[in-house]
């Protein structure tokens, strides 16, 4: 016995009796918490702040109150220079709200320069952000991987304590 049913085209669905359309209302104000609040304040001041784990000495960016590997409280705060290398990158053709972008956007994971790190560790302090001045082709061809980048900060008066206080990362 097959499953009872039939194929329905999207147009037909609009006219069909009994269809219910519903837009949920689900808004939140997530508490950033102790550690992320320091990070966000740092961004407003043009700084990238990380935190060291007392046990394994790793540096966490964004900072946390605890190290998830050691399950122990985090220790010293460290200000990083903000410079780093492109670990991986991709091209996005749609916005965060799924609208088609006029200009595709290059997004990347930046491996940040940090004291005690050689640059080849599987676990590293990093940031997910946009790259400016990088073409689609440079990503597709893999040319941008490993490029030296630094944050392009918004002017001081425009910073709000948000990750977008950094406009993007740019080559230098």
């Amino acid at each position: 016995m097959g499953i009872p049913g039939r194929y329905v085209k999207e147009e037909e669905l609009k006219r069909m009796a009994g269809v219910i359309e519903y837009k949920p209302t689900a808004k939140y104000a997530y508490s950033a918490g102790q550690a992320l609040s320091v990070f966000l304040k740092g961004l407003r001041e043009g700084k990238i702040v990380g935190r060291t784990c007392n046990s394994c000495r790793r540096i966490m960016v964004p900072p946390r109150e605890f190290c998830e590997y050691c399950h122990s409280p985090a220790g010293e705060w460290v200000e990083l220079p903000g410079t780093g290398r492109v670990e991986t990158a991709s091209v996005s053709y749609i916005s965060a709200r799924r609208a088609k972008l006029r200009e595709p956007e290059v997004v990347a994971i930046i491996r940040l320069d940090a004291p005690g790190y050689r640059g080849d560790e599987p676990d590293f302090p990093g940031i997910f952000h946009r790259l400016c001045g990088v073409t689609e082709e440079e990503v597709k061809g893999g040319k941008v991987f490993g490029a030296r980048v630094r944050p392009r900060w918004r002017p001081e008066g425009e910073r709000r304590g948000s990750i977008t206080d950094i406009e993007c990362f740019e080559r230098w």
Binding site: I20, P24, T25, A26, K27, Y28, Y30, S31, G33, E65
Partner: protein, 381 residues
């Protein structure tokens, strides 16, 4: 292999905990529970279980966020969309079957992070019911309350008395932000929110994270902690849940079924004689009376025993000596674990100002409107 609650930790118990993220609260509760149990997070715990629900978190696929704060990174971690006590049920099965020796169960809630609580509740209703645009999605509790009153003969004053008993009792409990010094007159003079329930009779919301370490008897003895034995735990969902109209109004068959099986596991035939106190569902005042009937702790018409003071802390059978959810507040999926916490502290003799005497207790929780899922646990010292 018997299962024990070996450690329990919490953080929060305020209507709003703005200074911590949910992950930080989870971490704080976990550290305290592991300290209490005497276990190392990254060495001694075999499985981590987290009970959570995306729309309460405000994060899609929020289970991805479960492992880090509780020590579950690169360890067996699972999530269950249900009340924290359902996760305790998972831990119970893992211990009893020999799959694990130590299981950490975590649940957290930050209702203060949800700006549109009513919108999220409405989303939980059958889409057909949403087309009516009800002014308060808690209305199913009103339907149950009226049907319960009609069947049992309880009056509005009896429902009010539950709120008065529990809210006043909570004044002795440091974890009870919604405790209040109120009288029957205060309740009766208040305009209902959802008839017959006034704001005094509907539990408020509390931010909290709770972590419980469940261990096998062998491990519990080895670690020399203060085990509270988990003699039985069962949960049940009504047939036709999702079709609210098929619910048996004024009753809670899921709680009755869960109790029957939990009692069978614990070898209980007469819960009134074989247990000493209970932490039962009371997020709406009438639910305490209804729960007592479904749990077999009172005959039909539980309000008569309530009136006689039988369920007071000093009565024949203390019910909600903690002050219940009406004082502690509800905390989404953490509500059941909060009630378990109170019962465990009681059985350890560490309940402070709310301490009652007892060797064996019942914990019964419901998943709240608009669900028809209940969980019952039997604990002993």
């Amino acid at each position: 292999m018997r299962a024990a609650v070996l450690g329990i930790g919490w953080h929060g118990f305020r209507p709003s905990v703005p200074e911590l993220s949910f992950a930080e609260m989870m971490y704080e509760a976990a550290v305290r529970a592991y300290e209490d149990a005497g276990v190392e997070a990254r060495e001694d715990i075999d499985v981590f279980v987290s009970c959570q629900e995306d729309f309460w978190e405000g994060i899609a696929i929020s289970d991805e966020f479960a492992p880090d704060p509780i020590g579950g990174v690169m360890r067996p971690t699972m999530t269950v969309a249900g009340d924290g006590l359902q996760c305790v049920g998972q831990a119970f099965m893992m211990i009893r079957s020999g799959l694990a020796e130590v299981v950490a169960v975590e649940t957290h809630a930050k209702p203060s992070d949800v700006k549109t609580l009513q919108g999220v509740y409405e989303l939980a209703l059958d889409p057909q019911l949403r087309t009516l645009g009800p002014g308060n999605p808690l209305f199913p509790a009103g339907l149950d309350a009226v049907a319960y009153m009609k069947r049992s003969g309880a009056e509005r004053e009896h429902l009010a008395l539950v709120a008065v008993k529990n809210r006043n009792r909570g004044l002795r409990n440091a974890r009870a932000p919604h405790a209040a010094r109120i009288t029957i007159e205060d309740v009766m003079a208040s305009e209902p929110v959802v008839y017959p329930l006034t704001a005094y009779e509907i539990a408020g919301y509390t931010d909290v994270a709770v972590n419980v370490v469940i261990a096998s008897e062998r491990k519990a003895r080895e670690l020399k902690g203060e085990p509270v034995w988990l003699e039985g735990i069962w949960w049940s969902t009504e047939v036709g849940s999702g079709t609210m109209e098929w619910h048996e109004w004024g009753r809670m068959p899921s709680m009755k079924a869960a109790a029957r099986e939990a009692y069978r596991q614990a070898g209980i035939s007469d819960p009134r004689r074989q247990t000493d106190f209970a932490e039962v569902e009371d997020r709406f005042s009438f639910m305490e009376l209804l729960s007592l009937e479904e749990l077999g702790l009172a005959p039909e018409g539980a309000h008569r025993l309530l009136e006689a003071g039988h369920f007071d802390a000093k009565g024949g059978y203390p019910v909600n000596p903690s002050g219940g959810s009406l004082s502690l507040g509800t905390s989404f999926e953490a509500t059941g674990l909060v009630r378990l916490l109170e019962a465990v502290l009681q059985l350890r003799g560490k309940a402070g100002g709310t301490q009652v005497e007892g060797e064996r207790a019942i914990v019964a929780s419901w998943r709240g409107v608009p669900t028809y899922t209940s969980i019952v646990a039997v604990l002993s010292r």
